[in-house]
């Protein structure tokens, strides 16, 4: 039975009804309504990123008012329903510190690594989603999951170094199989028997782990780092198998989705929209079933390749070439893609909010960081790159505000989000972007 508890509560308060029987949900919850009574464990808090390329239009997305209850600017209209759970960061700046701006790369990497990259593909350090994954993703089957709606597995911002990139899954069918294929253990299944094949696989991994010391001695320092990364992946696999051997705690929100179909992937906007919907729907199921607590979504690649069927130009090209309409102050054809992107974010939020969990929804129990790589794509501007945070992070965030950065470095946002997720750092970033100033207004 599907029951929208939120709607029921709203009805209860608004309509003044006297007796409404709350359904079975409460038996799962403890007195505070935040933890699963069966295990005593609090509901997990998740962290996700949602990325799109080519920014938004200056003057059309920054609210006039700061703080809570901000006004909704034209390009954010589709997100109006989420205002109280959506914080807008404007006026934060990515500094290049003399390293030169790489178009469609410096902005997103500065936001995620705290330092402008040395060149295309050359980051100074890991992206901070990996630090969050190392902090909160240790106990789930997957440390993190990456998806892209663009059809290209290279469209992933998540990296531990320049050469260690968490490739994104572009295919809903492959993503389904990875999540809910034979290795999936339904937490709500009545019976559970550990699979002896999984047991032998797990213990067999010792044959690889035994080689570690000998192998690391044979190679130079740089290769040692790479091989160590490999052994980290082995430990992660071992942990996945360990999780498959334990009876999972029942999860009220976990539903196994119906099998995905093979779809056409690519950068044509209609394909992007439909694949994005399928992928984030699967992601919502993966989160509800606690398969991962950290995820990264790409809606449009950096330097957006989105295009309409039959058109000769991409969104990226339009941002540079299309004349600005004086009446509206925007580029009409490029704005078509901006609108689809914001619609995509709406789809993302709606999907996460549609999964009921505990006293709220998945969205309430996550922190979703949506961001782009430039503010004004026409000139690759790195000032006031759009950044937003959706969700309440299980109460860790004071949600629903407009924060004006007044030219402060983007690292203040990254520092704040990492601290909210429990990453033990007090300052973050490099060069002129190094900061120990988090944004206290958004931390609960």
């Amino acid at each position: 039975m599907r029951f929208n508890r939120r709607a029921a509560l709203r009805g209860l308060l608004g309509g003044g009804a006297v007796s409404v029987a709350l359904p079975f949900l409460d038996c799962f919850l403890d007195a505070n309504g935040t933890a699963l009574a069966a295990t005593g464990q609090p509901l997990p808090v998740r962290f996700g990123t949602w990325f799109w390329g080519c920014g938004l239009t200056p003057g059309r997305w920054i609210p006039q008012k700061t703080g809570p209850g901000y006004d909704i600017p034209p390009e954010l209209k589709p997100l109006a329903a989420f205002r109280d759970r959506l914080t807008i960061f404007s006026g934060f700046k990515a500094n290049t510190d003399g390293k030169g701006a790489v178009p469609h790369y410096t902005g997103n990497m500065a936001i995620l690594t705290g330092s402008a990259p040395k060149g295309q593909g050359l980051v100074d350090g890991p992206t901070f989603d990996t630090a969050v994954a190392d902090t909160i993703g240790q106990r789930s089957r997957f440390r993190s999951l990456e998806i892209t709606a663009t059809g290209n597995p290279r469209d992933s911002n998540s990296k531990r170094s320049s050469a260690v990139i968490n490739a994104a899954e572009p295919s809903p069918l492959a993503f389904y199989q990875r999540l809910f294929g034979p290795d999936f253990k339904d937490p709500n299944a009545a019976d559970f028997k550990p699979d002896p094949k999984v047991m032998v696989r797990k213990s067999a991994l010792s044959a690889i782990k035994d080689q570690r010391d000998a192998l690391l001695k044979e190679v130079g320092a740089a290769d040692r780092v790479r091989l160590d990364e490999y052994f980290t992946s082995i430990r992660q696999l071992e942990q996945q198998l360990e999780i498959q051997l334990q009876k999972p705690a029942p999860l009220e929100a976990c539903k196994v989705p119906s099998a995905a179909k093979d779809t056409k992937v690519g950068t044509e906007i209609d394909d992007v929209i439909s694949n994005h919907k399928l992928l984030v729907d699967l992601m919502a199921h993966a989160l509800a079933c606690d398969q991962t607590r950290v995820f990264n979504v790409v809606f449009a690649d950096a330097g957006s390749s989105l295009r309409k069927a039959g058109s000769t130009v991409t969104h990226h090209q339009l941002t540079h070439e299309e004349p600005i309409d004086e009446k509206t102050g925007c580029q009409p054809q490029a704005t078509f893609f901006v609108e689809r992107i914001v619609d995509g974010l709406q789809t993302m939020l709606t999907t996460m909010d549609s999964v009921k969990e505990g006293d709220g929804t998945l969205l309430d129990h996550m922190m979703l960081f949506a961001f782009s790589e430039c503010s004004y794509a026409k000139i690759h501007s790195l000032e006031t790159i759009p950044m937003m945070v959706a969700g309440r992070a299980g109460g860790k965030l004071k949600a629903g505000q407009h924060i004006a950065g007044n030219g402060d470095p983007v690292t203040r946002v990254g520092l704040t989000l990492q601290q909210a997720m429990g990453v033990p750092i007090s300052n973050w970033g490099a060069g002129s972007m190094q900061t120990s100033k988090n944004i206290p207004e958004v931390l609960a």
């Binding site: 701006a101 790489v102 178009p103 469609h104 790369y105 295309q120 593909g121 050359l122 997957f142 290209n152 597995p153 290279r154 320049s162 050469a163 260690v164 990139i165 968490n166 490739a167 492959a174 990875r178 002896p196 032998v200 696989r201 213990s203 067999a204 010792s206 044959a207 690889i208 080689q211 192998l215 044979e218 190679v219 130079g220 740089a222 290769d223 790479r226 091989l227 990364e229 490999y230 980290t232 992946s233 992660q236 696999l237 690519g266 950068t267 044509e268 295009r307 069927a309 039959g310 058109s311 000769t312 130009v313 991409t314 090209q317 540079h320 070439e321 299309e322 026409k378 000139i379 690759h380």
Partner: protein, 558 residues
């Protein structure tokens, strides 16, 4: 050796080559050598190895992480990539699927060379025999006794738990298929007896085999490594000649050119079907095959001059490609040799669909992308990334009635001072290919205005693809570039300063021998320099200057 001495040696060497004695003792000037590398297998290599060891009917199905391009080559990138948790998951799935097939009832008798005393009990002897043999092939060197012991123990324990010998063997084999000893080609250095370091025998065999065949060493090469044959000039030359004479060298040459020409990007290439109704992913498969067939035929079969790949009118076509080139192809299904007539605008590999379509936009041609590709891919010259704050309006407005052709639009664009510096060294190259649209089909007009295919490359002025091809043919940078790429491809690193003299020598020798690819491969593969290891104290990591080369292609979309 003095300059004179070197020149004489070179001439002597050339003379010997001309009279058919291909062996030449001259090893050129001293080289520092490069690092002992640890390279991750590519998807093609992984697939080829499984087919070599277990047969082509074992299916290898799964996704591999994308490789990273550095210094113009994925082969160099393989020295710097690692295995992320998600890619290990993929390897794990592949390993389990392959191991299950190898021991299944259809294959076990053929692939497992022994039978257990009892199918439900461990049999350590049989397990050790199988795993030891497979281990030698997978790890490209004999397993250490403790490694074999531990793999046998895995098989034994798993057999006890699962009650089946083959299930136990499957478990152990799967682990070996995801072992770092298999997934990474780890090279080990040893003293060379002259105060420097060189690769040990098995590392030599592996470097050589992937260089020439793009797969693991075969039994004979492993035996040669075991006996120390590869440390003697004669023993090494015997193996190199055997390998170059084998039909398998074609796979190696294909792999090299696929990498150098960026063909890994063809499968994901998107073209607008409404602009190019003839475009399908199958066309791109054929286009890649066309170029590779042309290169293999010219360079390997005919042993032709490398420079002629830029001018040759000989190629191979399918009916599908015939519809794009607008020439009749008789064979309804297969490949057919084809020669464009003299004077035809199609000449050389830059006038082939694989090059023209890859270096274009989804809906239109791009002189900038094509010019950049000529410089970066064919001449090994670095083009800087575009600056911030650029207005592309004129170039991209294909409906602009004032600027109807790409030439007119780009000329207007090049008046912007911030852009002019770079665009004047790339656009005029690509403008000579404007007679080919974004898919590679010939045209004489754009938006009703006639196309002027005049081009410039440095001091050379020419017309059309044939003119560009002749210019590339005559440009020493093109042959120097090939030598650089071939060496970097084989050694897995960008040549360092300490190797510069040796590379120069290779270039001179390539010229003296008439620009024959098989001779170049042989010179490198039989040299000491190819296996010499520089001192380990160097910091690795993606090379700053060149990691950009492919990645930045995406950025520059003007």
């Amino acid at each position: 050796m003095t300059m004179v001495g070197r020149t004489l040696a070179l001439l002597a060497c050339t003379g010997l080559a001309l009279i058919g004695l291909s062996s030449c003792g001259d090893d050129g000037p001293a080289s520092s050598g490069g690092p002992a590398t640890v390279r991750r297998l590519t998807q093609e290599q992984y697939t080829a190895i499984i087919a070599d060891i277990f047969g082509a009917d074992i299916k290898v199905q799964g996704r591999f992480d994308p490789d990273v391009r550095e210094n113009g080559l994925l082969a160099v990138g393989t020295s710097h990539v690692s295995v992320t948790p998600s890619s290990l998951e993929q390897y794990d799935g592949l390993a389990r699927s392959i191991a299950a097939q190898v021991v299944d009832e259809h294959h076990r008798d053929q692939l497992v060379g022994c039978k257990p005393a009892s199918v439900s009990q461990p049999d350590d002897n049989c397990a050790a025999q199988f795993l030891g043999e497979v281990g030698l092939q997978l790890y490209r060197r004999p397993m250490k006794p403790e490694e074999l012991k531990s793999q046998v123990a895995v098989a034994s324990d798993a057999t006890k738990t699962l009650g089946n010998f083959y299930a136990g063997l499957e478990t152990s084999l799967a682990i070996m298929l995801e072992s770092p000893r298999f997934l990474f080609r780890e090279e080990i250095a040893e003293p060379d007896g002259a105060g420097h370091l060189k690769l040990d025998g098995y590392s030599k065999a592996t470097r050589l085999s992937f260089f020439l065949w793009n797969t693991s060493p075969d039994d004979e090469l492993l035996k040669a490594a075991e006996k120390g044959d590869l440390d003697s000039e004669r023993g090494l030359a015997r193996q190199v000649d055997r390998m170059l004479a084998s039909p398998r060298v074609e796979a190696g040459v294909r792999a090299f050119f696929s990498d150098m020409l960026g063909f890994d990007q063809l499968p994901g290439l998107a073209k607008d079907p409404e602009v190019y109704p003839k475009f399908t992913p199958v066309v791109m498969v054929d286009a890649q095959e066309q170029t590779l067939r042309t290169l293999v035929d010219h360079l390997l079969v005919q042993k032709g001059d490398y420079r002629d790949i830029f001018t040759t009118r000989k190629t191979f076509l399918t009916r599908l490609l015939g519809s794009i080139y607008r020439v009749p192809v008789q064979s309804p299904t297969g490949w057919q040799p084809f020669e464009f007539p003299p004077g035809d605008p199609h000449a050389g590999i830059v006038a082939e669909v694989s090059f023209l379509a890859l270096h274009s936009h989804p809906g239109r041609s791009s002189s900038t992308l094509r010019g950049k590709a000529v410089r970066e891919i064919l001449l090994c010259q670095q083009v800087p990334t575009p600056p911030a704050n650029v207005n592309f309006a004129i170039v991209q407005d294909t409906k602009n009635t004032t600027y109807r052709t790409a030439r007119e639009r780009l000329t207007a664009h090049r008046t912007e001072p911030t852009c002019a510096g770079c665009h004047k060294i790339i656009d005029p190259i690509g403008l000579s290919l404007e007679n080919f649209d974004g898919l590679g089909a010939y045209r004489t007009a754009e938006n009703g205005a006639p196309i002027d295919p005049a081009g410039e490359l440095d001091a050379a002025h020419f017309e059309g693809a044939a003119g560009l091809g002749q210019t590339l043919h005559d440009d020493p940078a093109a042959t120097a570039c090939l030598v650089n790429r071939v060496y970097a491809y084989g050694s897995g690193h960008a040549p360092s300063k300490g190797e510069a003299d040796w590379i120069k020598y290779l270039q001179g020798r390539f010229a003296a021998e008439g620009y024959r690819l098989p001779d170049l491969l042989r010179t490198i593969a039989t040299s000491k320099a190819f296996y010499k290891v520089s001192e380990p104290a160097r910091t690795e990591g993606p090379n700053q200057a060149d990691a950009t080369s492919r990645a930045s292609a995406k950025e520059d979309r003007s």
